[in-house]
Symmetry: C2
Subunit: 360 residues, 2 copies
C-alpha cells in the first residue's frame, strides 16, 4: 500500500529516506540499519575526502545488501579577501578565548578549484564503488557529471526549495526530486532562488511542485512520524526524507550533546543562521548564534566561514558544551525520541498504515 | 467520513472554515455561500464599527439559515510619539506624491482605550445578534469577555502560532484552536511568541500542537484544496481554515487587482512585511514593500502604521494600481482559481474523498 514508482525505482519497501546529514551523523551503522529496515539509508559525504568516502561505502556494503545512497555538495564559486578573513577572525576571537583556544593562526583556505577537484574525485569513487543512488545538494552538477553517472545507471536525486528549482532538476535529467520545506533542519538547499524566497512551508510547496513536474517528489522538512509521511502523500509526494528523526537515533553519530539539545527543545526554539558556515541553516538557538548575530550578514560565504569556525565547533563539542556547537534541527524537535532505527521505522509505518490513505 | 467532534460542535457538514479576512473581503454573500455549501463562513470584523458589524450580521442571517462566525481583533496596548509619526509621514511622502495625494495632514490616531471601547461594543453586538461562533486574533480577550460569550453559548475559537499559545488558549476555556502556520497570508496571529519564533510550518506545527492539547485543532496556512485538507487531518487536525482560496472566489469583496495579483503569482513571490500596518503580515511583494523596506523595523506599531498608510492603500486600489496596495496572500498562490464558493467547496470535498483517509 505504501509502494509506488519511487519505491520501485529505489528498490525499497517503504517510502522513507534517511536524510544524508553531513559531519559525522550518518555512521555506516545508521545508513545500513535504515536500508535493512526497508528505507533508504544515505551517506552524507559533503565533508568527506574521497578516501574517507570509499572506506565508508565499503563499510556500508558489508552491513547491508540493500540499496543505499550517498550525497554530495555541488561546489559553489566563492571569493574572499584577506580583509574579510581578518574581520571574521576578529569577531570570532572572544568566543575562542571563552573556549581556551589560542589566537587563531591564518587558516588555510582552499580555492574553488580545489573543491571542484575533490568533487570530481568523489564522483570517480561513486562510480568505482557502484553506489546505487546519488543525491546532490546546493545545486545541479554539470552535464558531464550527470551523463557519466547516468551511464552507470546510478539513480540521481536533486534537492529543490521552490517550483523553479524543481523544474530545472527535472529538465537536467534527474530521476527524483527532494523538496525541502522551510521546516527543514540544517543547510538550506536553494540554488536559483534567494534565501528568503526559498522558505516555503511543505503544505504549500509539495502540491505546487507536483502540479508542475512529472518525476516523483520526496518531501523533506519537519517530518518525524507516520502522520507526516501520510500528510506528504496526501499532498502529492511519493515519500519523505527525514533528518532530525534519524539524528537522535541510537545509531546516529551526532554528539550526545546535540541529541540532548534536540530532545529538550520546543518547536519555537530553532532559528535560521549563517553564522556557523556562511550558508543559511536551521538549528537550535544557542550562545554562538546570539553572540554572532550582529555580524550575520557581513560574514564570509560558504565554505569560508565554515572553515573559520571549525576549531570552535569541534572544541565546544569535545567540552560537552552546547553553547558554541551547530545544533542543527528541523522545526519538530518535540517529536524526537531516543530509539533504534528499527523501532523508528516500525513506528512510522504502523502510524502511516493506521491512517490508511488510498494511493497508487 | 469527514465528520468529527469539530464539525458537530460547529453544526457544519464539512470541516472547512473560511478565514475571516478583514478589510472588505468577507462580503455577506461570501460568508453565506460558504455556510450554505456546508462549511463555516465568517465575517472578518476586525476593522468594522459596531454599527457596520450589526448591519452585516443581519444581512448574512437573511442569506443563510446555517451557522456562521465572526472574528474580532483583540486590542493591543500601543504607544507612539509625535516624532515617530512625523518620521513615518516623511518616509511615506514620496509614495503619496506618486499617487497624486496632498501633503499628509496630521492623522487622527485613536488611543488604546478608544480601541478597547469599540471592542466592548463589538462584543455587545455579537451577543445581541446571537452570532453562533466568535473567533479572536492577536491574543486572548480578558476573562469577563470570555465569560459573557460562554454564558450565551457562543462557540469560541482562538488563534495560535505555537504550542505555547495553543496551550494558553485551551487553558482560557476556548472550544477550538486555529493554528496558523508560517505559510499563512495576511497578519501573523502571534501574541506570546516573537514574530520570528512564530514562523512554524504546518507540517511541524499541527502534530506538535495536537499532542499537547485536547480541544480540536483547525489548521490554517497555504491550504487550498482537498489535498491540503486531508494532509491536515493526517497530521491530527480536525479541519482547515482557508483564506487565499476564498479570497479569489467570485463572491469575495477583494479588489479585482488583488485577485489578479494572486492569480498571477508564484509560490516564491510572497514576503513577510510590517510596512503596511506595523504588524507582520504575508503578502505579494510589490513596490510599496520594496520602497519601505529600509524603514521596516523603525515604523510605528499596529494599528498606528495602519492608519498612516490607509489613504495610500485606498487610493492605489481606486487607481487599479497594484504597486501600493496590500496584496495579502498565503504561500500557495499557484493553486488559486477564479470560481464560485460552491464550486470551490465541491472540489475540496471531492479531492479529499478521493484520498480516502480513515479517521474518527
Amino acid at each position: 500500500m505504501l509502494n509506488n514508482k519511487m519505491t520501485e525505482l529505489l528498490h525499497i519497501k517503504y517510502p522513507v529516506l534517511q536524510a544524508p546529514m553531513a559531519g559525522g551523523v550518518t555512521t555506516s551503522t545508521l545508513v545500513a540499519e535504515v536500508s535493512n529496515a526497508g528505507g533508504l539509508g544515505s551517506i552524507g559525504a559533503g565533508y568527506l575526502t574521497p578516501v574517507q568516502m570509499q572506506k565508508q561505502i565499503r563499510e556500508v556494503k558489508k552491513l547491508t545488501a540493500n540499496y543505499f545512497g550517498i550525497n554530495l555538495f555541488v561546489p559553489n564559486k566563492f571569493t574572499f579577501t584577506e580583509n574579510e578573513i581578518h574581520i571574521a577572525h576578529k569577531t570570532l576571537q572572544p568566543i575562542r578565548e571563552k573556549l581556551g583556544l589560542q589566537q587563531s593562526e591564518n587558516s588555510e583556505i582552499p580555492t574553488a578549484t580545489d573543491y571542484y577537484d575533490v568533487f570530481k574525485e568523489q564522483i570517480r569513487v561513486i562510480i568505482e564503488e557502484k553506489v546505487p543512488v546519488c543525491s546532490f545538494t546546493f545545486g545541479i552538477p554539470s552535464q558531464d557529471v550527470i551523463d557519466v553517472l547516468k551511464e552507470q545507471n546510478i539513480i540521481l536525486i536533486g534537492t529543490a526549495t521552490t517550483v523553479r528549482e524543481a523544474i530545472e532538476i527535472e529538465k537536467q535529467g534527474f530521476d527524483l526530486i527532494v523538496v525541502q520545506g522551510s521546516e527543514a533542519g540544517g543547510h538550506r538547499g536553494h540554488f536559483m532562488n534567494g534565501f528568503q524566497e526559498s522558505l516555503i512551508g511543505l503544505m504549500s510547496l509539495i502540491p505546487q511542485v507536483v502540479d508542475q513536474v512529472s518525476i516523483p517528489v520526496i518531501a523533506a522538512g519537519g517530518i518525524m512520524d507516520g502522520r507526516g509521511l501520510m500528510a506528504a502523500i496526501c499532498l502529492g509526494a511519493k515519500g519523505v526524507q527525514m533528518g532530525t528523526a534519524f539524528l537522535t537515533c541510537i545509531e546516529s553519530g551526532a554528539p550526545e550533546t546535540h541529541k540532548e539539545a534536540i530532545l529538550n527543545a520546543d518547536e519555537d526554539q530553532t532559528v535560521l543562521t549563517r553564522t556557523f558556515s556562511g550558508k543559511w541553516a536551521r538549528g537550535i538557538k544557542n550562545r554562538f548564534i546570539e553572540e554572532m548575530q550582529e555580524h550575520e550578514t557581513s560574514l564570509p560565504e560558504f565554505p569560508v566561514q565554515n572553515i573559520l569556525t571549525q576549531t570552535i565547533r569541534k572544541t565546544s563539542t569535545l567540552q560537552y558544551n552546547q553553547d558554541f556547537m551547530s545544533l542543527w534541527s528541523g522545526q519538530s524537535p518535540r517529536l524526537a525520541k531516543t530509539q533504534t532505527v528499527a523501532q523508528l521505522m516500525k513506528d512510522i509505518i504502523a502510524g502511516a498504515n493506521s491512517l490508511g490513505v488510498k494511493h497508487e
